[in-house]
Structures are given as C-alpha cells and as structure tokens.
C-alpha cells in the first residue's frame, strides 16, 4: 500500500486501503526521540458496519474536502499536544467507496506512557468526528442516506470541551 513505510504522512486523506501498522510505525519513529520516547501507541479504527439503523448496508461512499481536512487534522493534533505533552497524533481517513468490513479511519496517538496515548487517541477521534470536513453516504439495498451531524466549527469551544471530557473523564 505504501512503497516506504516511513514516508507516509501522519495526517492524510487517502483513497487506498488504510494500514494501521504503517501509521503506527511512523508515529513510533516520530516519538522515539522526543521526551521519554515512545512506549505506547493507542489507535482507533473505524470500520464499515453491515447494518445501519437496522438497514442492510451495501457499501458506503466517503467524501472529503481533503486540503481542509488535513488542516483540521493538524489543528486537532496541535490541540492534543497542548493537552498531552510530547504526544504525536496521526489521522488517516479514507475516501471513496468502502465495503463492509473495510477501515474508514485510523487514528493513532503515540506517547511515552499509556495514559497520554489512550486519552489523546480518544480525544482525536472525537474531534475528527466533530469537525473534519468528511461526509458519509450510506447505500442500502433499498435506498441511500447522507449522514449529517453537527455543523463543523473548529472554534466551538463547547465541542472541544466535550471531546476533552470523553478523553479525560
């Protein structure tokens, strides 16, 4: 999937299948030299479910505004680093047609110790869901639906604090 494991960007919107190991390897390399080094990586992997609200999913289409999405990922990574010192965050989100069982998003957070890695990972996936300009179009046997949640607003502090509460409870 990647010709060189190390040249993968940690924040990216990708059309090809995602590789957890590739992103983890990149973050481990980035974190190894910082502070106490890299002892922990937490990841979150989003997978296409076979059913959605009781309907049979045929496939999904993810659409992204890629250049803005990468900037949003960077903003989230910066937020996470302000909260958890020396943590490195990666986000790979896939776009295009995805079948059941395929991975739509991989979030990874690397740190010296597990508490920071776990919290930063949870924070990041919550923020990605809140504000990344990425849309999910569900195709069922008998119709289709755009999934729409909240209006994305990176400056909305209530949303940011809700994500932080998920991670820091």
């Amino acid at each position: 999937m990647y010709t060189d494991r190390m040249i993968v960007e940690p924040l990216a919107v990708l059309r090809q299948p995602l590789s957890v190991e590739t992103l983890v390897a990149r973050l481990e390399a980035d974190t190894r030299g910082a502070g106490e080094g890299c002892g922990a990586v937490a990841t979150f992997i989003g997978i296409v479910r076979a059913t959605s609200q009781g309907r049979q999913v045929r496939h999904l289409e993810y659409e992204a505004f890629a250049p803005l999405a990468v900037k949003v990922f960077q903003g989230i990574a910066d937020e996470a680093r302000r909260e958890w010192h020396d943590v490195h965050v990666g986000v790979h989100h896939r776009v295009g047609r995805l079948m059941v069982g395929e991975t739509s998003v991989v979030v990874a957070a690397a740190a010296a110790h597990r508490d920071a890695a776990c919290r930063a990972c949870r924070y990041t996936i919550e923020r990605v869901k809140q504000i990344a300009p990425i849309w999910k179009h569900e195709y069922f046997e008998d119709g289709d639906a755009w999934v729409e949640g909240a209006v994305a607003d990176p400056a909305d502090d209530r949303a940011r604090l809700a994500a932080r509460a998920c991670a820091c409870a």
């Binding site: 250049p67 300009p133 849309w135 289709d144 729409e148 990176p154």
Partner: protein, 90 residues
C-alpha cells in the same frame, strides 16, 4: 470578479453539481456567494442555516469578504456523532 464555488456531499447532490464559477460584484462576502448559489439551485435551501464556509481551504465566516479567484466552499454538517434523526434518506 470571479470565484470558484465547491459544494460538498448532500449540497452537491442538491445542486446537481459540485463545482462552478460565479461572477460577483467587488466587495462581495461569502454570504453573497451563498445567495448566488441558492438563486441558481433553490434546492440547496434545505441546508440553509446548517452550512459552514471555507475560503481557499480555510474555515471562514459567512461575513468574510471574497476576492477574485478565491475558492469558496460550502459544507453541509459533517457525519461525526450523527444520531438517529440525522439521516437524509431517499
């Protein structure tokens, strides 16, 4: 002055296209661009009030001034955290 407009996801579906150009008077703001889109594609009004805006791939308020050659994007609400009632089904 001419701006490129990008319409994402359901917004693009409602408009029937995802990218077009509009000619606007100098001094126009993002809200004026949105109004031009609504005029051209009345169906997008379904999302009025729930649209974010980006200018040249940075989030911007609808009050932001646009300039010649700008890329103005309108974004429907994103998928994340959507609940039971946030599906727009066909």
């Amino acid at each position: 002055m001419r701006v490129t407009v990008q319409l994402f996801a359901r917004l693009g579906d409602l408009a029937g296209r995802r990218e077009e150009t509009y000619d606007l008077a100098p001094g126009a703001r993002a809200a004026d661009v949105w109004q031009a889109v609504v005029t051209a594609h009345p169906d997008v009004r379904a999302l009025a009030g729930a649209v974010s805006c980006a200018i040249n791939a940075d989030f911007a308020p609808l009050t932001a001034e646009v300039h010649d050659d700008d890329e103005v994007a309108f974004l429907p609400p994103v998928s994340g955290g959507a609940g039971q009632d946030d599906r727009h089904q066909r």
